[in-house]
Structure formats: structure tokens, C-alpha cells
């Protein structure tokens, strides 16, 4: 296991999702979810699977959109049916990563969610987050797809600051 800061994991997970061709909003949310998931000791396999099948991330993001929309018009708990344990684990982490208060109660086939959309989450964050080597490698490989190869032209015309500065 490798030890990283919260910010490092979150930024890497966003880039990894982006590198997996996930649209920006869903990639941002995935980054927050993945960090919460790892910090809470969640299993890594579902994260890895989701990054391997980017449609899964978009689907999960959509499930969360529906939960939020439903919660905004009803004070009743929202029920989310989810048979797959991996996806269920990610959904719980996704809800826990929202900026608002989220209470979840999961059974083997369903999550019951109560959201308070305008009340901030009180969840704490640890000083370090641990990540396994395989998932870290996968994320770094995907993240590398988002970087534009360096070139003399981009160094000279696309970036700030002069190359040498001897004022």
C-alpha cells in the first residue's frame, strides 16, 4: 500500500476518470467518491472495475443525480435498488462524498438515503489515504492520457514565465 494525501488521491482519481473518457462533471465526482471510498477502507476492486468500464462511472453518477433530484422534492428517504455489491459500495461512498449531509442505510439489495441538500457534511478526513499498487498504477496510466506531450513550441509560446530570468 502507498500512502498519499487526500488531495493527491482526489486529483489523481479525477485525472484517471478523465483519461478513461469520463465527462468532466462525472470525473470530478468520481474523484471525490474514490478518495472517500479509499479513506473509509472500501474495497479497491470496484474502483478498478469502474475505471476499466467508464460507462459504469457515468451510470453511477446518473443514479446519484436521480437520488439528489428525488431528495429535493420529498423529505422521505430515497430508495436505491442495487444488487451488485461493488456498485453498492461505490454508491454509498459517492453519497458520503457529497458536500451535503447524507445518511445511508444499506441492505443486500437496497440503499436508503436521506439527504439534507443545504446542510454541509460533517464528515472528517484522515491525514493520509492508502492505495494499493495495482490501483495506483492503473490510475497513473489513465491520468497520463490527459497530458499533452511536451514540445519546444508549447514551451516557448504556451506557458508563462521566461525560460531564463536573471533580473
Amino acid at each position: 500500500m502507498t500512502e498519499k494525501s487526500w488531495t493527491e488521491i482526489q486529483a489523481l482519481a479525477v485525472k484517471a476518470a478523465t483519461g478513461a473518457a469520463v465527462p468532466p462533471a462525472q470525473a470530478l465526482a468520481f474523484g471525490a467518491m474514490a478518495t472517500r471510498h479509499l479513506a473509509d477502507g472500501g474495497p479497491e476492486a470496484p474502483l478498478s472495475d469502474a475505471l476499466s468500464h467508464s460507462g459504469t462511472i457515468v451510470d453511477l453518477a446518473h443514479q446519484i443525480e436521480v437520488v439528489i433530484e428525488t431528495a429535493s422534492i420529498s423529505e422521505q428517504p430515497v430508495r436505491v435498488a442495487e444488487q451488485d455489491s461493488g456498485r453498492r459500495a461505490l454508491l454509498i461512498s459517492w453519497l458520503a462524498s457529497l458536500p451535503c449531509q447524507a445518511e445511508t442505510n444499506a441492505t443486500s439489495a437496497e440503499i436508503r438515503v436521506r439527504l439534507s441538500l443545504t446542510d454541509p457534511s460533517a464528515r472528517t478526513r484522515p491525514a493520509r489515504v492508502h492505495i494499493g499498487a495495482a490501483l495506483l498504477d492503473q490510475m497513473q496510466d489513465l491520468a497520463a492520457r490527459t497530458y499533452v506531450p511536451d514540445s519546444e513550441a508549447s514551451r516557448s509560446s504556451g506557458a508563462g514565465a521566461g525560460l531564463m530570468d536573471l533580473d
Binding site: S5, P23, H62, E65, I73, P120, S151, S154, G160, D165
Partner: protein, 546 residues
């Protein structure tokens, strides 16, 4: 903060404030983060202690400075190196610097200092711990450094005019916080008394770096600096594109910064009458601004012309500051400024904020974003469309098919992950564009909205690519100053305006743009020295020498 609710006039509308032309004219205020941090140090009468000094006669070695703030001890570990001139570069892609720094949480032992001495000079290639709060590096201004050392060694003092022109002995080229390279995440310190404000830890590091540079030059020069001259040495900074995307990727934070500033000026404008002391203070600040402008020259002709025009215009406006009578004197002054240029208006904003600490200083407590966006979804696509047409007309008014309206694209280079800006029609990499094209995305969403109302989630089932725009629209509906109301991919977009906005919130002065992509600035120029931290020392807005 005062325990009464201050009167306020309506805030300037976001459509007026959140334009790049105005953001690119912003000036530092007493709400700026460095100013607020030093004010706090002054309130606590903090004392900076040099707890370790192992430095060669040429100024290469290690030093540690400690300071108490809000019941915690923080220490700057400074590593000064012998850097060959041909390696001195301000670019992110540089690999060596004159000095490297870590702001450490507590008092470091020898093992900690050894660890930091091994890692800090590596910067992005190093590895850091949660005890390390900030990582930074700096290069000397070789001209200023050599002249100061020579003057001190010959029994004299450096030339005041040269200090005015350059303003620093070293300039930082990066100040990293919030979890980068393993340093502490911001959430670990954000509830601490004294470090709660945005970038407070980074600003503490900058202030201690300034203290170190003054100590180091006196050590190498073998004589002390005159305190008047020393006070006018700040810390330089070279800032490029990397800072610009932050304003787009942190919309709630941007809102809270701008909202605090706009609330401050709205409160000041609402004041009914002024005491003789307040009138005198405003007149004195006006005169100080005049001198500051006179001392502020930059090599770039176009930017210097802006400064000289402002200097002339300000001289013509000054009589308004000397006739502040009647029922609503500030509002009368404000209205007189509305026919003046944007740079003059923004200078006046900063001056008026400076003059009224009781109405303003408490707002620094509202400038963070501890939660993230707390938004509520739209009832349906009709409500989403209504929000777009109400808040985003500026985004809908542009033709993004026009090459001039989409010429630029933001991207991250594989070279040290440096943010860069490309030409969509000439450069490689547009397919890897960073999603800062918010206006274009909102316009595309608007064009795709269905004629028949439906839930937003069902719309996004078929159009997941629009979720980003939906999120931004929801944020803007709740946080009115969250969005820069300009097309950030237009050929005419000047990132330097975004840098100016952010750096003014840091407290930067003497903006010295080198292109549309980067600028030099000075931080902490005029700030009290390490042995001068007392409440009465909080008076260094727009510093002048002598």
C-alpha cells in the same frame, strides 16, 4: 466582527464585477490574505525566533525560524544553495533554485531538518509528510542581491531607487500547499485559529521567507540593513498560467472572495457621515496612492502606459477625496468615480476598504469554502433554461463557431504537469483540452435543451456531456460571483487578468506583466519586519519608500 449588522447599499452586480477587464485591474486590500495574516500576527504581537542557523559566509546552508500563531508553533525551514547562473529559471520546469523552503507544523528536530534538507531542493520530485504544511522555492534577484551585498560590505546601504524598482531580494516561483507532493492537506489545519483563512499557511510561509532573505543578505553582507530600507524589501513572485485555472475550478471560493470584497465596499458606501479623522485618513491614503503610482513603473510599454494614465487620472480625481462633506459623502465620491476608468474605480475600491477597518475586517472570516457547493437541483429542463437565460446571457451571446471565439484551449503539459494555453488551429493537444470553456459548454447545453419540460436527470441520461454545465449553472444560481463572465477560450482572453485578480487577493503589489501569460509581483513590501509585529503596524497598504 462588530456585533451590529452594518448598513449596506446594494452590491455591484456580478455582471459588472466578474468581467476580466475589471478583474484585471484589481488592487490589494486589507481583506487580502497576506494582509489579514500579518494583521493577525500583529494582533498577537508575534515574535519570530531564529532557532537554527548553519550558513556559510557566502550564504549557503540551513536556517529555521519559528513563530507562535493561534496557540500553535510553525517553523520555516530554509535551505540555501549555490546555484549556477545558467540554472536560474523561474519556470515550473526548472529543476534547481537558489533556496528551498518548507513551512513545518511545530518545531523541527535535527532529523526533520535533515529530511527537509534532502527533499525540499527536489521540490516536485521530493516527498513530504503531513507535518510539512507548505513547500516553496525562490531565486535571487541577482541585480538586487549583488548590489545589496556589495553596499553592505562597503559600509553603506543599498540604493533606495533600486529597491523601489525591484522591491525584493528573492522571488518565489512556486508556493505549494494543500496536499501537494505529500504535504498536509488543508483540511488538517483549516480549523486552526489564525490559519483558517484562504492560503493562510502559504502567506505565513511567504512572510517568513521574506524575513529569511533579509537575514541572509545581512549575513552575507556582514552588516545590518537600515530598517526603513529593509521594510521596503518584499518577496518577489513570478506567476504564470498555473494560477489562472484555480479561479475556474474553485467557483465557490471565488464567489466568497468577491462577495466579501463587494460587501465591504457596499458597507462603506452606505456610511452616513465621516469624522474629521476619517476624512483626514482618506485624504492621506489618496496621497499615498499617488506616490505609490509614481514609484510603480514596469518595463512593458503597454502596461506602463496604463499606469501612467492612471497616475494622471488619479491626480485629477484627488480633489474629490478632499471634499467629503454632506449626508452620504462616500456614495457621492463613488458616483463621481463612475465616469472614470475601471483602473481608477478599482483603486478607489481598495482605498475605501482600507479606510474603514471596523466595517470591513470581520469579512475575512467569510472568505473560505469549508464545504463545497451546496446546491439544489432544478425542477426540470424549463427551470434550467430559465436559469441560463437569467444568469448566462453573456455566454449565449457569443458565436463559438467563430475561430476567434474558440481559438485558445487550456491543457496540461506532460512536462511537470505545467498548465499551458494552446492555439486550437495551430497546436497539438486540443482533444485533451481542460474543461475551462464554461461559457461554450453552457451555450451548448442551452441549444440542446428539449422543447418539452422533463427532469434534468432524464435529460442527462441522453446527454451526460452536459452535466458539467448543469453543475456550473446550479452553482451560479446560489453563488452569484462564482463565474468569470467572459469567454475564456476567445483569442482575446488574457490570462494575466485572472492572475491579477487572484494575486490581488493574495495581497500582491507592483504587478509587472511580462506578457499576457505571466507576471512578476511583490508580496509583503512595506510590511512590518519580524520585530515590529504590533497592532499599530497594520498600515502598509500601497507601500511607498521614505
Amino acid at each position: 466582527m462588530k456585533d451590529h449588522a452594518p448598513q449596506t447599499l446594494p452590491l455591484r452586480p456580478p455582471g459588472e464585477v466578474m468581467r476580466l477587464e475589471r478583474m484585471g485591474a484589481m488592487m490589494p486590500t486589507r481583506l487580502s490574505f497576506l494582509r489579514a495574516l500579518i494583521r493577525r500576527l500583529c494582533t498577537e504581537r508575534a515574535a519570530i525566533k531564529r532557532t537554527h542557523w548553519d550558513m556559510s559566509p557566502d550564504g549557503h546552508g540551513r536556517a529555521v525560524y519559528s513563530v507562535e500563531l493561534g496557540g500553535h508553533t510553525y517553523s520555516l525551514v530554509a535551505i540555501s544553495n549555490d546555484l549556477p547562473a545558467d540554472q536560474r529559471s523561474d519556470r515550473v520546469i526548472a529543476t534547481a533554485w537558489d533556496a528551498a523552503f518548507v513551512l513545518y507544523d511545530g518545531t523541527p528536530g535535527i532529523a526533520d531538518i535533515d529530511r527537509i534538507a534532502a527533499q525540499a531542493p527536489l521540490q516536485e520530485a521530493g516527498r513530504f509528510s503531513p507535518k510539512d504544511l507548505v513547500l516553496s522555492r525562490a531565486n535571487k534577484s541577482v541585480r538586487m542581491w549583488d548590489a545589496t551585498v556589495a553596499a553592505l560590505r562597503s559600509g553603506g546601504q543599498p540604493d533606495a531607487a533600486m529597491i523601489r524598482d525591484i522591491g525584493y531580494l528573492m522571488r518565489t516561483t512556486a508556493v505549494y500547499g494543500n496536499g501537494k507532493f505529500g504535504i498536509a492537506d488543508r483540511h488538517l489545519i483549516e480549523t486552526r485559529d489564525g490559519l483558517g483563512g484562504p492560503f493562510a499557511a502559504e502567506m505565513l510561509a511567504v512572510y517568513l521567507i521574506r524575513h529569511f532573505t533579509l537575514d541572509l543578505v545581512a549575513h552575507v553582507g556582514r552588516a545590518p540593513l537600515d530598517p526603513v530600507l529593509a521594510r521596503h524589501f518584499g518577496v518577489g513572485n513570478a506567476t504564470g498560467l498555473g494560477m489562472a485555472p484555480f479561479l475556474v475550478t474553485h467557483p465557490v471560493l471565488l464567489n466568497n472572495w468577491m462577495l466579501a470584497r463587494e460587501t465591504a465596499i457596499a458597507r462603506v458606501r452606505a456610511l452616513d457621515g465621516l469624522s474629521a479623522k476619517q476624512r483626514a485618513l482618506i485624504a492621506a491614503l489618496g496621497a499615498r496612492a499617488t506616490r505609490h503610482l509614481t514609484e510603480w513603473h514596469v518595463p512593458a510599454a503597454d502596461h506602463d502606459t496604463i499606469l501612467r494614465d492612471l497616475e494622471t487620472e488619479w491626480a485629477g480625481f484627488l480633489p474629490h477625496l478632499e471634499t467629503l462633506n454632506g449626508q452620504s459623502p462616500i456614495e457621492t465620491l463613488w458616483q463621481a468615480a463612475q465616469s472614470q476608468s475601471i483602473p481608477l474605480q478599482e483603486l478607489l475600491v481598495a482605498l475605501l476598504i482600507e479606510a474603514f477597518p471596523d466595517e470591513v475586517d470581520g469579512l475575512t472570516e467569510c472568505m473560505g469554502d469549508p464545504f463545497g457547493p451546496l446546491t439544489t437541483p432544478f425542477a426540470g429542463t424549463d427551470a434550467l433554461r430559465a436559469a441560463i437565460e437569467a444568469d448566462w446571457s453573456w455566454a449565449l451571446a457569443q458565436d463559438y463557431e467563430d475561430p476567434a471565439m474558440c481559438r485558445r484551449f487550456w491543457y496540461v503539459s506532460e512536462a511537470k504537469l505545467e498548465p499551458r494555453l494552446g492555439d486550437r488551429f495551430a497546436d497539438d493537444g486540443a482533444e485533451l483540452e481542460t474543461p475551462l470553456d464554461i461559457a461554450r459548454r453552457v451555450a451548448a447545453l442551452h441549444a440542446n435543451l428539449p422543447a418539452q419540460d422533463q427532469s434534468v436527470s432524464s435529460f442527462l441520461t441522453d446527454h451526460p456531456e452536459h452535466a458539467h454545465a448543469c453543475a456550473r449553472i446550479a452553482v451560479l444560481a446560489r453563488y452569484p460571483y462564482a463565474e468569470i463572465r467572459d469567454n475564456l477560450i476567445a483569442a482575446t482572453c488574457r490570462p494575466i487578468d485572472m492572475l491579477r485578480c487572484k494575486l490581488s487577493f493574495f495581497g500582491a503589489t507592483k504587478f509587472d506583466p511580462k506578457s499576457d501569460l505571466w507576471t512578476r509581483i511583490t508580496l509583503a513590501q512595506g510590511a512590518p519586519l519580524g520585530d515590529e509585529l504590533s497592532p499599530e503596524a497594520d498600515d502598509w497598504w500601497l507601500p511607498v519608500l521614505g
